[in-house]
Symmetry: C2
Subunit: 281 residues, 2 copies
């Protein structure tokens, strides 16, 4: 199954049977004080640099989130979309809890972006899916609802099913719903990653859709986070994830190594080109 | 299923449902000139250090191989077994192409070692399985035969089946045959790792036995070998491998991270203890 994202002139296909799609996570002020300050000061040059560095490191799509205290998202999200589009032409992943901010950003985003995110909460379904339909975009759907994040894979699968169902009834194509099975830190719950991996397998088997992961939470609070994140990504791709929101400067090499090992990179050409590019950067 | 290895006083269980067993690969002169020289000069202190460093880094079993030009294996393998046993008490993995050297080493090895290895070649089956039976050990069985290494997983599965069959008919217990699906470099064949991963899945499903991997070949000739090896280990454990012959100084952290992510490490205690030990070493 393919989820087609577009920028002004580029197309990126998230594919269940293809190479993994890398979404750069760094334009997000959560835990990044310098970016939060830059957003408050409207230092757009800082944001341009963040965008370019990530594309250079292998990001094929860029997540754009401006949620920080003192920042009016409805105004700033479209501004940052324009900023990123002024220096690079990759499809965007519009990331906000505020549906008005998303609507404002959608008005100025060329092509077909990914919306980040809807989930099974009634208010989210009611506010986000109409935007997906109206702007004919794709959307990331988190497997949580008004009851919270279920502890077992079957319940997460059921939420994924309800969101897909609702989307399809509204006329959104199944392939435009990218399921995110959510991952919590294994530092707090030894089953956290196992449940996510099992959810990936179940969702792939049941619905055949693309699956996205936010891949840094899993190691929160633990030492050697890079090692844990690398291992988790490989386990996730082995289970069937096809798209990841991550730090491409830290994890692109691991992601491309997984594509190579999973037989998706003839003679390692893509991996070798990437390593050469990164080493010369 | 459990494969129980023993040293003089310790027991190590390779378990299909448990944490991964780490076999230290470094007492093997192939590609290690210093060790080859040490063996020729009978510099046993060098070997003791290699043994201790690996156990310190997380090895639970040590592979012992003395195959180098100018070294008489039948004499040296028992000598090195005694050397390793003089400084540490982990079970051993006796690694030789020479069945007489293995027989001589088995005479001086306490407990239940692992023999590395038999395969589907007639001469190997005839020379190695009788030793496994006589000394009541476990054995690594490579999925190749007189025709070479098959390119497809089903053919490797068939060889695994034939070896297990032959072993069982001789009175060797199934759980004492640890299948090694073999891995070639993805630099030469883009399907090399995929075929290995699929073989792991098939062998686990069909026979339920433990599966060992030599985990360094896969990246031969490529840059960023550590990244590729880390990713491959995670993919392999996700597919069902339970035992690995590797460099514990480079890869123990990744292996323990995988156990943590696969829900086999309550509150990450084992991972955290390992990281602390390695950082203080």
């Amino acid at each position: 199954m393919q989820t087609v994202l577009k920028s002004k002139e580029q197309e990126v296909r998230i594919e269940t049977e293809g190479t993994v799609t890398i979404i750069g996570e760094k334009i997000n002020p959560t835990g990044r004080k310098k970016l939060a300050d830059a957003l408050k000061k409207k230092d757009f040059e800082f944001i341009r640099k963040l965008a370019l560095r990530q594309v250079q490191a292998g990001a094929q799509v860029l997540d754009v989130n401006v949620g920080a205290p003192g920042v009016e998202e409805k105004v700033m999200l479209p501004e940052v979309v324009k900023t990123v589009n002024s220096c690079t032409d990759v499809p965007l992943c519009l990331d906000s809890n505020d549906s008005e901010a998303l609507a404002a950003a959608l008005e100025v985003t060329p092509g077909t972006p990914l919306i980040n995110s809807v989930n099974g909460e009634k208010s989210k379904l009611d506010s986000i899916l109409p935007l997906v339909k109206e702007f004919d975009t794709a959307v990331i759907a988190l497997t949580m609802d008004d009851e919270g994040i279920p502890k077992d894979p079957e319940a997460r699968l059921a939420i994924a099913g309800r969101i897909i169902d609702r989307a399809v009834k509204m006329g959104i194509r199944t392939e435009n719903v990218v399921i995110d099975p959510l991952v919590l830190t294994v530092g707090a719950d030894q089953n956290a990653a196992r449940v996510t991996l099992e959810t990936i397998r179940l969702v792939r088997k049941e619905f055949g859709v693309n699956i996205n992961l936010g891949a840094s939470n899993v190691s929160f609070g633990l030492p050697e986070r890079q090692t844990i994140n690398q291992a988790f990504l490989a386990l996730s791709f082995g289970a069937g994830a096809s798209c990841v929101i991550t730090d491409p400067e830290k994890l692109s090499s691991t992601i491309l190594a997984c594509d190579l090992l999973l037989g998706r990179d003839s003679y390692g050409k893509r991996f070798l080109t990437h390593i050469r590019t990164v080493q010369n950067a």
